[in-house]
Symmetry: C2
Subunit: 650 residues, 2 copies
Amino acid sequence: MTMSVVEHEANLSLIYREANYRPGRSWRTWLIGRPLATADAAHQAIGKFVGLAVFSSDAMSSVAYGPQELMLVLAAAGAAGLNYAVPLAIGIVALLTILTLSYEQTIHAYPGGGGAYIVARDNLGELPAQIAGAALLTDYILTVAVSISSGVAQITSAFPHLYAYRVEIAVVLVVLIMTINLRGVKESGAIFAAPTYFFLGMAFLTVIVGLARYLTGNLGMVPNPPELELMHGAQGLTLFLLLRAFASGTTSLTGVEAISNGIPAFREPRSRNAGRTLIWMSFILGSLLLGITFLAHQTGAVPSDSGETVISQLARTAYGTRGAIYLATIVSTTLILIMAANTSFADFPRLSALAAADGFLPRQLTYKGSRLVFSRGIMALAGIAALLIIGFKASVSALIPLYAVGVFLSFTLSQTGMARRWWRAGHLKPGDEVAGHGSTLRYEPGWQTKLVVNAIGAACTLIVMIVFAVTKFSGGAWIIVVLVPTLVLIFFRIHAHYKHLARQLSLEDYGAAPRMRRHRVILPIGGVHRGSLAALSYATALSEDVTAVYVALDPAEAKKVQDRWETWGEGVRLIVLDSPYRLLIEPLLAYIDQIDAQRQSNETITIVVPQFVPKHWWSNALHTQTALTLRTALMFRRGIVITNVPYQVD
Amino acid sequence: MTMSVVEHEANLSLIYREANYRPGRSWRTWLIGRPLATADAAHQAIGKFVGLAVFSSDAMSSVAYGPQELMLVLAAAGAAGLNYAVPLAIGIVALLTILTLSYEQTIHAYPGGGGAYIVARDNLGELPAQIAGAALLTDYILTVAVSISSGVAQITSAFPHLYAYRVEIAVVLVVLIMTINLRGVKESGAIFAAPTYFFLGMAFLTVIVGLARYLTGNLGMVPNPPELELMHGAQGLTLFLLLRAFASGTTSLTGVEAISNGIPAFREPRSRNAGRTLIWMSFILGSLLLGITFLAHQTGAVPSDSGETVISQLARTAYGTRGAIYLATIVSTTLILIMAANTSFADFPRLSALAAADGFLPRQLTYKGSRLVFSRGIMALAGIAALLIIGFKASVSALIPLYAVGVFLSFTLSQTGMARRWWRAGHLKPGDEVAGHGSTLRYEPGWQTKLVVNAIGAACTLIVMIVFAVTKFSGGAWIIVVLVPTLVLIFFRIHAHYKHLARQLSLEDYGAAPRMRRHRVILPIGGVHRGSLAALSYATALSEDVTAVYVALDPAEAKKVQDRWETWGEGVRLIVLDSPYRLLIEPLLAYIDQIDAQRQSNETITIVVPQFVPKHWWSNALHTQTALTLRTALMFRRGIVITNVPYQVD
């Protein structure tokens, strides 16, 4: 009314930079740190040293339970079974080598982050990508549950009377790690670097001391080992048993893919830094795996689920004491296990944000919180993992069968995708380029070798996955076999919803917004007073077609309202709804329904609701919240606009 | 736009009788019965027979704990103390007689319901009335807690192993009585008549059999009485002890005022019916009180808080057996005690509705539910009483000290008010009339006698109240001494709020509603699509001064929105708010604050919020509820109108 069309257009492209708003200090600031501006994002990148700590704690820590779970299966066949521990460990390290070579190629091909999800999407299509996504997300959750449970098992090895509180301790730890991660990746990297290197130091020390004493012939056996508990009763030494043991042992390989997902967190040159970090990690992991399995076998360590851990038995045998150095080993193992969960906290939110950006998960997951991390993903992960821990009573052996099917499924899809990529690259002319989702495809010299490497990787991981799914099926792997397809189905339904919505809201083939021809205004009043008259004045400014509505609980009161309206109602018609059952909202809704049914096309109905705004919050209790109830009831009605006109008392 | 002013006026007085709306069947219908229309109210009145049951169960049932609590105090002074039981009981019956005479006069003077609240209001003023109200409401709550706890004590006398579950049983019973009362007074009257008369029959039978055996000399002593437990250790027989015992005994008189509060529930002639019912009730109560105390003393019954009740000991001594007739006595006593709480459920909601109508309690309490009862008052009473029972672990002796101070305070105020009334009536000229709150004041022949009766009543109840407050102060009466003034303070604050509000909303000295001079419309958009364009079309129909606002989390996205707005925005200016901390709501609120600060008088600001309405409830999880959050944040802003324009997808 005061601004001309020319002024409008002059203002059209104005960028309004908000200078007034500064985030306040609150309990959230105290807990997770001051908010970070979007422009600060680049400073959050990490180097190889911190990168190894952030992305490898999952893989590294699995030496604490991998060999033990392997031996636990073999122990069912007695000493003859346990003799296979070292050969099986060598097989696992061979698999690790293949995986590392495969993933090193992936990292260079996908410098923007090359997790199984992206690689499958780029090379295999939408369905394999969503299968990989579902498998990985499931696996990240299980990583948190397994590592935390195993960390708590270390604690209860040293302090057996804490065994009764293992679930509570585990849940508290999950919440703690969640909070650390909500502060942001760089700070959590610093927090995690020290314990990771502490663990590596102690683990190598234990292995080296053990080997030295073995070579000098004075290592001896574990004194007072825990009693042998058989998971499935005494069994013969069958191929099935060996395969199951191998499958249990491969849980040590989970986490190898973490770096390929996390490339964007690395400092430039990202691919190079990430690749080097991967090779270092695999080398360390392989040595520890072999060393620990060999020494455990030599010292006759007894695998146990609820008793002392193999690591604990090994450390006290190697050091020949339960002194400070033994305790340091246990403490460092506990720390790495607890913090292994951190790898999932780095990857789960990133992957879910990726899938959400593609429209397969709720969009809210793409939202970066005040500390530039995907805070909703972090909280979702913590919540689900805590539920799992509670459900499985923090038992590592109960959780292990669920683990690794997902991760090997994603390994297979990723390697298959890479193999297909090299095939396509080999058939391009040099100089041609094909744009993909996360990288550009070019002719690659030596593509045949790369194809073979990834194809072998795909074949091996496929075999391991099948072995795992079959041998652990009844033990819990069936849950994952059911869950992954279900998740994929849900992802596609979510995708269909967003696609449908986008089509419906699209402005293609959209002429102009339909003009409002008729505007009907309904004004429910609870009496005739300054508040309702203010709403009346607003309503009459909206349209000439205003109807005031009063619900009569008491005929005498209704008569009074009518008389007063005659004086103050400005000639607007008043409809009195008789309410024999003393209900307020229901007759009003029935009336609105009736008006709505008569509505013509291009007619808009607006309900103008006078809303009392009390000065003190407590006075809310002294008023029926009719406006609120009405709004809730009408909120989701199509084509009915609801307007609240507040009136306040000083 | 389509209706002329003439049509408006023709429609002005149209009464629209709602014929379409019929209340549906639901779980509420199943629980509390079909809704009753307001016109059905008259049919709910009750006669003397049902009235005695509804309003006297409180008073009657107190014979089950009054004598016991009296003896419990006396027992501290041994056999010498217990010798005073019968004389003290005679004193209590004398007090009952005075009270009955006083209240009989009140009932006839206040045929519309003459509780202490109304009488004090009419004759003494607002402050005494509110004190009486606070005292009575407190007392009704305590009645529920004490009777239910005492009823449960009867059950645990017969089944001692249920003692551990007494709190749970008591709470379930409270909920049960609440539900019965939510069905409405007539039906609950029918439900309560049978047990009341069953109890009266059994109680008189026990007393008569006991007296007959006493007179024939073969009553004997209680076999195996419970062990004596001293509440305050062994004490000398002091006046203080006797007064405390008397005070404990007077808890039997609570409930005498119930009928005077409930007169409107009686059938016409109300006063006459109510008066007769009162006299009958007092006669029955007095006889039982004396009979039970006398027999308990003769048989050497031992009062006990957590062991067997006096009634139980008396019944098995009188009948000489623990057979069917003993069990019938216990069952009937239990029933009457549990149902005694019903008197409070009849009176508390009525009194609170009365106080609410006067503006001293939240107005919602005046609202009659679908079954024509004050449902909110009923639920409030049940809730608070349940909390009390839980807090005091359902112990009668712990609750007794809180009891009766309130009721005797209200007795005193009521009788003082009546005395003042007769004084005023006596000084009117015959034929003169003075209109009061609940009755009309006329000259009354014989006013002197009536004045003396009520004055004696006032004096006696005042003394008892002081005795009670002093002797039970440290035992718990202090809670009431603190609570009642606090409640009165709260009542007056509520009253001030309503008075202030009425003044502020009053149309006196109100010229005309201020015309809206400028109308500024702000349209927050999350993107440019059919939904936001529908809201834009609505916004431009409201005013020419429309500003669209977009919060930019990502500069690239913001650029896209700006470009699209250039095409589709109909020349409306778009303001882009930069949000460096990736917050959505906060920058918007800061912007609105800024606009609000520049607002001129007579300018209205409307925020038009496009609101996505999903087809399935579950798809809500896939959208950020920005519209909802924004509404909540702005709801209570003065002078800012909020409009939701829904857009829905098929």
